[in-house]
Amino acid sequence: MSVSVRGEGLVKRFGRGEAAVRALDGVSIALDDGVIAALLGPSGSGKSTLVKALGLVQLPDEGVIHFRDRVVARDGLAVADLAELRRSHLGFVFQKANLVSFLSARENVEIAARIGGQRDPRARAEELLAYLDVGHRAKAYPEELSGGEQQRVAIARALANRPALVLADEPTAALDKERGRAVMELLRRVAHEQGAAVLVVTHDHRAMDVFDVVYEMEDGRLTGPLARSRDDAHAAAPTSAT
């Protein structure tokens, strides 16, 4: 079990003086390959800020981020090509699907695969859409897709470059219970079948059983990992990666 991404002593401040907020207040976390982790916590506790930090989108002011045992950011400064890391190793899923509005479902996945340098981006896109049961909607534009379909396309896009790390920020918030559950199951398959490290921000306590580990945030501080039947989870996780 190797560590995918690790943050140490992450601090992120917003604002100055009286109004200053410590969105991350000394957070350390390590996400393992093949493990799906939940990140819980009240609104405003810093969950999205942590996802952005680990996703190398918005670097924290202090602390070190390792990716595959390599330091990639230190105290707010990039020490590696972050865009290249995002391109090749990271997949994002958001509350809203955030698909590119002027591209069809297939093209949304294809562009990610193309940016990531996949050999046959189009074939990769078609394969992933089929894997996520939205192959029949490949030609539709995002606005023509239902919320659940959009979210599945977004997951397909996140997987386009066989990412080592998938970050999902409230991916089921816009979905009904059944569809939310289905998306969570999908993300679990991504971790267990594809061997990715998966971090999912969620409010949905009913779906806790899909997660291998659970973290909680409160006022910028992280508690966890609280192993939820850790041994069961690993027993259920085949280590093969596609």
Binding site: S48, V51, K52, G55, V57, Q58, A83, E84, L85, R86, R87, S88, L90, F92, F94, Q95, K96, N98, L99, V100, S101, F102, L103, E107, E110, I111, A112, R114, I115, G116, P121, Y141, R157, D169
Partner: protein
């Protein structure tokens, strides 16, 4: 997969509408350049159609197109015998405006030195050169007259025997060619009363002399309408056109003629320059200014359109950045749309031009220079106009996508 094209495809009607509007602006700019080129060409037509090597004009003047230039008609004969001169012709020029069948005709009358010059070298579209010394006229087709039409001018009734194309002055007036004799009777035509007074004056002068008093019957001759010679000088010419013999040196002939005390000699390029300076000098400034203003307007319009397109795509751009899209890819999205807009607008402008320019009252001449420069300028303008949009796209923060 080209992102710019995908986005255009998604917003096709608006994109095409914008391009069409832009095309109108471009069509106007190109038209103005074409009109200017047409004016320059028209200015040269007057000299070019005459096909002379040298223009002999009154001393200290710039010739008939700039000011009054009066030469004694005997100059034709004098010039013709100068060594190296193949042919010398008289030339007269005037603008006249007449009512004809309810229309106002404005035309530039060019007198040809019949019978040496019958208009054989004119760009005839229909009809023929002059075959008689009086009563015939060759006109530009823009005058709307046809072969056989009779145009009353002054005391003369002139029959149209030839129709030329592209013989306009730089002011856009059609040129009509006729014999110098007809030219004088049209342009110098005096009202009957003026002639009667002139004859009375002649009779009074005659009666004031010894001869008149001793031969009173002579005074009857003075007021006879058929009798005019002694009281009126032979009417002047405005220029004498000289063709240099093929084996003679034009500069030598020019130097020889320039030695005469009463004339100035202009080579054809010099005469063309006079026409250009006097007629299109100010128009050039004016048109240049309009062109700059319209080009800037087009640039601002393109800039606003592209900026709006980029702002509307802020979220999409953020997503693409999050996926790790490289900066050139993002900039290319905006830039390529700018070029696409410019290309589409240019093509539509060319189409509009092909349809509209021939109906313009002024000749629109699309020189090779204009054909080459128009796309280049449009490329530069659209590239420049895209900078605001590109700057916006570059500033988009990928992290924003994760919010909410």
């Amino acid at each position: 997969m080209n992102l710019a094209l995908r986005d255009v495809r998604r917003h096709l009607p608006r994109f095409v509408g914008t391009a069409a509007g832009l095309a109108l602006l471009f069509a106007v700019v190109i038209a103005m350049q074409g009109i200017y080129a047409g004016m320059v060409d028209d200015a040269k037509i007057l000299t070019r159609t005459m096909g002379a090597d040298l223009w002999v004009v009154q001393r200290d003047t710039l010739g008939p197109f700039a000011e009054a230039s009066r030469l004694d008609p005997s100059l034709v004969r004098r010039a013709a015998v100068v060594p190296g001169v193949a042919r010398a012709r008289g030339y007269t020029y005037a603008i006249v405006q007449r009512e004809h069948e309810g229309r106002t005709l404005r035309l530039a009358l060019v007198g040809l030195s019949w019978p040496d010059d019958r208009g054989a070298e004119l760009p005839l579209e229909r009809g023929r050169e002059l075959s008689r010394g009086r009563g015939e006229l060759i006109v530009d087709r823009t005058l709307g007259l046809d072969l056989g039409d009779v145009l009353p001018l002054g005391d003369e009734s002139l029959e149209v025997v030839g129709v030329t194309r592209d013989t306009l002055t730089s002011a856009g007036d059609a040129v009509a060619f006729l014999s110098i004799a007809d030219w004088h009777s049209v342009v110098d035509a005096s009202p009957d009363e003026a002639l009667r007074l002139e004859r009375e004056r002649a009779r009074a002068r005659l009666l004031g002399t010894e001869l008149g008093r001793s031969q009173p019957w002579l005074s009857e001759l003075a007021i006879d309408p058929r009798w005019r010679a002694p009281v009126l000088p032979e009417p002047p010419l405005h220029a004498v056109l000289v063709d240099v013999a093929p084996d003679a040196s034009p500069t030598e002939v020019e130097a020889r003629l320039a030695g005469w005390p009463d004339v100035r000699v202009l080579s054809t390029p010099a005469q063309e320059q006079v026409l250009l300076d006097s007629v299109v000098g100010r128009a050039k400034l004016q048109i240049g200014l309009f062109t700059v203003i319209l080009t800037l307007t087009a640039m601002v319009v393109v800039m606003m359109v592209l900026y709006t397109l980029a702002v509307e795509k802020t979220h999409d751009i953020a997503v693409l950045k999050l996926l790790g899209a490289r900066r050139p890819t993002i900039a290319g999205l905006v830039l390529q749309q700018a070029w696409l807009l410019g290309l589409l607008a240019y093509l539509v402008a060319v189409g509009i031009g092909a349809m509209l320019y021939p109906t313009f009252p002024r000749r629109v001449v699309l020189t090779d220079e204009i054909r080459f420069l128009a796309p280049v300028v449009i490329f530069v303008v659209t590239t420049g106009a895209s900078l605001l949009g590109v700057a916006h796209a570059m500033r988009v923060d990928a992290g924003k996508v994760l919010e909410g």
